[in-house]
Amino acid sequence: MTRLVITYAALMLLVTISYLLPAVAFPIATVKAILVAAIFMELARGRTTSRLALGLMVVFVALLVVGVLGDVATRYAASAYVH
């Protein structure tokens, strides 16, 4: 229970920091997501199979975002979107 309370307090603090410093809000969001996954979703002491499913999701999400960004960055000029 102490773990849950400490995690919750840390998350609340991180939200407040993000609000005050929006420039670093996205990296902080990654920290918050890791905290929720590790403690609340119990991945820190969970089974390898669950971690595998999450790990694969992270890999595919990264592939998709990097692929799409790479495509629009090299294939089209920004002016192509202007209508």
């Binding site: 997501a33 199979t49 998709l64 979107y81």
Partner: protein
């Protein structure tokens, strides 16, 4: 339920959540693509999101993750847990009411997606992509919150097994994690 069946149920939930992650990944990739084409317009349009209500909802949803985690913790110890599920449901409903308030405010000002865009303070070109993404991403997320509210309401009313509560908890935390990324992206001018 044997520990093997419990492990399979948990793994099945994680596979489902991974597929859900891909659904949102498509939307995040779309945001990244439009952000590449219209960085200034997306940032300018994002300034018109209601930062105060968005932040309030972030506090609410993270608190609801804590309450459902506490419910699971208590259920495992054989203690009374339904009040904690009820608190989670109440926080979920509060989140949806605030979201609906934001939508109503935006739509009344013409801050609307696609061809309905008629916001006086911004030209449509480029900015409208932010508005369409804002409504699509927060809308799909809000539907997920509603589904969680429905499931947890049944558990709060009838009680449930620890394993089912754990699986519902995983889903609820996942929805929280999605919001954790939506908030800086759509409300704090993220992606810069």
């Amino acid at each position: 339920m044997t520990s093997d069946r419990r492990a399979v149920a948990t793994f099945g939930m994680w596979v489902f959540l991974a597929s859900e992650g891909m659904l949102f990944a498509g939307l995040f990739a779309l945001y990244a693509a439009y952000h590449h084409a219209f960085p200034a317009e997306l940032a300018e349009a994002a300034r018109h999101a209601n930062r105060l209500l968005g932040t309030l909802n972030t506090y609410i949803l993270i608190t609801s993750s804590f309450t459902i985690a506490t419910a699971i913790h208590r259920a495992r110890e054989g203690r009374r847990y339904r009040a904690w599920i009820l608190a989670t449901v109440a926080l979920g409903v509060a989140f949806e009411i605030i979201k609906a308030t934001e939508y109503a405010q935006h739509l009344s000002q013409g801050f609307a997606p696609g061809g309905h865009f008629a916001f006086a303070e911004l030209p449509a070109r480029g900015h409208v992509f932010y508005v369409s993404l804002y409504f699509t991403m927060t809308g799909i997320h809000a539907l997920h919150v509603a589904a969680g509210i429905a499931i947890l309401s049944v558990f709060a009313a009838r009680g449930t097994s620890v394993v089912r509560l754990e699986l519902a908890g995983l889903y609820w935390h996942f929805v929280d994690v999605v919001w954790i990324f939506l908030w800086p992206l759509l409300y704090l001018g993220g992606g810069r």
